[in-house]
Every structure is written in structure tokens, then in C-alpha cells.
Symmetry: C2
């Protein structure tokens, strides 16, 4: 089953465009798991168990596992294995490298870790993206317009055909022969969603920045939704993971995920 | 000791601007080590033992270890530990992410793996680079103009102040308050070295593409060298690692490294 089909099925089955970012920080682990040797893994397991009927995807960010050393790699593997196979996984590693090396990253993400999709930094161009897109059953989200202030340094700088991020979207559309490309578009820039959706119909947008970063959910859904009403994978990490440090942190995470899912569904209903 | 000082000392001590890329491919391992459980690590160890008096740095690319799964992480750790502490190490992971997440990558590269320097993709801008530059004792090489054909897709595209890669170099120069920034500049584009060196005096350039990719060594040294005659970290991977599949593959690698080092030194002498 392809990432695309798996995502579509999870969106329908869980009535959700919400993606939960599995970015565990040891310093923020609730007391209930903090003392354990496998505290990070147990935290992830309980978050997944509490939310897996509410999400369309999970997105672990590689950095949070890499910073734990070799234990981190094992934790990432075990976390990905624990996620029900009906929910697609997006490994957020923002990788970039040329042909032969990119193939090694594809093997790492898709074969070794078993992720269904991967984030890729497009800076190096076509031959740094092609080896990922060649894995037709896997999803490839190219960084386009990110949610951080630094996006103004290069991404929104004007070139001959408009800002760099639009050129990235145009190229992604051209390269998307297998229909497995997507774009990362930050929720903090809702004004960009209309033009990107017009440029890239049918392409899923991975949208960070609605939770802790304060993006405008209504504008994202209004301007970013695709003709089928979906096409958005709206990520929240801290806003779901760390709502409670108490014994019932997983229950609190579930309630936060339910509220976010419902808020997104309200936007979908009113902008339909 | 800072990366900068360690690099300068290795350049002088080994009379070398040559960096060897430790990018082991299981399918290309010589028979002498291919059968071993720790074949990749043993290959790296023998390459390092055979070349460590000839190089100014080693550059393992993370992808080649990530594609080996959890064994790969351990192999990368053990490889980095095996490199003599007098030779600086550059982890080539081309990472990019925002503030908090970037800090986790810094911890992974510098604290968990113990690398002296890291490659970083600048696409996301200032706040995706700052957490690395804040590690003042570590080196941070920003992708600028890479050696692959895809560099034409975005890197060399014209913006208001010239091509994107020049803007990256200008920004890097501004951000380089601690003197620990460097640039990745591909050897296949020697015409760019003069303008980049003029823009970024004192900044080390990490230069891939002289070996298998066929860059022009003389032009790189002529236009890229700094006022002190150094400022270049010229990387070769396949051209050193895989010159022989025979029993004495490490000896063959040493001869290839000696030849490359000598060729670079001849360029330095004639362009001085």
C-alpha cells in the first residue's frame, strides 16, 4: 500500500487531518515515565495508544532521537514499529544529498526504519530529490515555505519568477511524475496557501506551526484544502505531547488531540 | 581546542589540504574485510590507519551509516573514536531544522558522536543555523554551491542581489560572529571560487568533487586559497577508498591519498 493511499484511508477512517509530531524531550517527560530506562519509548507508546484513532499520521523528528545517541536509534525503530500499520508515518529528517548518497538516506528512512514518508530539503536541486521520488510507494515532502522567521532569509527572497519557495513548488510539481511528492508549508504564512494550492493541485501539504507557533488554522484549511477537502497534514507536537506532566499525561494528550481534530473539522465544515 | 585550531594544526603538521570522505558502501568492501561482522568498521579503521598522516580532516557522511540501521550508528561512533584526536572530523549530515530541533542535531553531532564540525543546509535561514554557530568551538559548514547538476535548479538562480549561493555566502559572513562558519563549494564550479573567497575571507571552504566528480584542482586552489595559503578542505571519497579491492586495499588508498595530497601541494606551490 502506498503512502498516498494509506494517508487517504486514515484521513477518512479517523476523520482527521491532524498529525502528531513525536518529538520527545527527556527534560519534559512526565514523572510517570521519566524514571524508566526506556522512558522516551514508553512516553511515545502511551501517546500513540492514546491518540492513534484521532490522527491521519505521526511525524517523528529524527533530531530528537539522534540526540539520544545509539539508544535513540533503537527508540525511533521501536516507536515506528509500535504505530498501527493503518496510520502512516512521516520521518522528519529534512535530508539532502546527491544521487548515490540520497539513496542511502532512502534506505535508512524507508527500509531500515520503515517510515512511509520522509521530509527532504530541496536546496541541492533535482538530483538530490530524484532518488526519493523514485520510491513511488513512499511520500516525499519537500521543504517549501517553513514556519520560522528565517524563512525570510532565502525562502521568500525574490528571484526571476517570484520567491524561491514558489520556484520550489513549481519544480516539485514538474518532478512529481509518480504522484508521491508533497510540500512542507508553515501555518504561520496562510497567505501563501492559495497560490501554492493553485500551483500544486493534488499534492499533500505538511503543515507545521499550528500549535505552539500560533498559526491560523482557519486560513490554512480555507486556502490550503484540496478539491477533495483534504490534502493537508496538520502537525502539532508540543501542543499535544506536553499538555500535562501528571499521571494521566496520555489522557491529556488525547483531549488536546481531540480538540485540535475537532477545530480542524469545524474549519473544513465551514469552508466546504 | 576549537575545530578551527585543530584544522590549522593538521594542515601544517600533515602538510595537507586533503580530507578523506569515510563513506563505506557494503557492496564495495574489499574481500579482505567483506566477510567480517564488523566489515565496515574494519574497513574504516584500516583506511584511517593508512592515511591519518596525510590528511587535514576526515568526513564521514551520515547517510552511509544510517542506511546500515542501528549497527550503522555504532559503526559511526566507533569510526569517529578511532580517528586520532589530532585530526578533525566533519560529520556530513547536511542537517536543517529550527531552533529547538537544531539544538538536538547539535547535541547529536557534537556531543553524542563527538564530531568537530558539521555540514548544515541553509535553506531555512538564520534561526536554523544559529544553534550550530552558537557552538563556538565547533565548525559549521553551510551548503553554498554544490558540485551536482541540480545546483542549477535553485543555488545558481538569480535573485535581487545575484544568485542564491552568493546570498548564502553573504549571510554566512554576517552570521559568522564566532569565526566558526565555513562554506561547502563544489570543485566542479571553479569560476565561483574567486568571488566566494573575496566575499568570505578567512572562512574555510569544504570542497567536494575533485575525485570521482572530476573538478579542476588547479583552479580550486588558485582561486579558493586564503591569504594564508590554506582555507580549503578538499574532499575525496571514492577516489581514495576504492582504488583496490585486493588484500592491500589500505596501501592502495594510502598511495591514492599521497598522490592527491601531492597534487594539491603542487598547486599551492605554483599559485603562491
Amino acid at each position: 500500500v502506498t503512502f498516498r493511499d494509506k494517508l487517504a484511508a486514515a484521513v477518512v477512517h479517523n476523520r482527521s487531518l491532524l498529525c502528531v509530531g513525536l518529538d520527545p524531550e527527556p527534560a519534559r517527560l512526565p514523572a510517570a515515565v521519566a524514571g524508566r530506562d526506556d522512558g522516551v519509548l514508553e512516553f511515545n507508546r502511551r501517546i500513540v495508544d492514546a491518540t492513534c484513532d484521532l490522527v491521519c499520521a505521526y511525524k517523528p523528528n529524527f533530531a530528537f532521537y539522534g540526540s539520544l545517541g545509539s539508544r535513540g536509534w533503537a527508540t525511533l525503530e521501536a516507536t515506528l514499529s509500535h504505530i498501527p500499520s493503518s496510520v502512516p508515518t512521516i520521518l522528519d529528517a529534512k535530508v539532502s544529498d546527491i544521487g548515490n548518497t540520497a539513496e542511502h538516506y532512502a534506505r535508512m528512512a524507508f527500509d531500515e526504519l520503515g517510515a512511509d514518508a520522509l521530509t527532504v530539503n530541496p536546496y541541492m536541486g533535482r538530483d538530490a530529490v530524484a532518488p526519493f521520488l523514485a520510491r513511488r510507494d513512499k511520500g516525499v515532502f519537500l521543504l517549501c515555505l517553513t514556519s520560522n522567521p528565517g524563512a525570510a532569509d532565502f525562502e521568500t527572497q525574490a528571484g526571476a519568477d517570484g520567491p524561491l519557495y514558489l520556484r520550489v513548488a513549481q519544480q516539485a510539481q514538474q518532478w512529481n511524475q509518480a504522484g508521491n511528492a508533497g510540500l512542507v508549508v508553515g501555518a504561520t504564512r496562510p497567505e501563501a496557501f492559495s497560490e501554492l494550492r493553485a500551483l500544486a493541485p493534488g499534492m499533500p501539504f505538511l503543515v507545521p506551526g499550528v500549535g505552539a507557533q500560533g498559526g491560523d488554522l482557519d486560513a490554512v484549511v480555507r486556502h490550503g484544502r484540496d478539491t477533495d477537502g483534504a490534502g493537508l497534514v496538520i502537525n502539532a507536537s508540543r501542543a499535544v505531547l506536553y499538555t500535562s506532566g501528571g499521571e494521566d499525561f496520555a489522557g491529556a494528550a488525547r483531549r488536546a488531540a481531540e480538540e485540535l481534530r475537532a477545530a480542524i473539522e469545524r474549519c473544513r465544515a465551514t469552508t466546504g
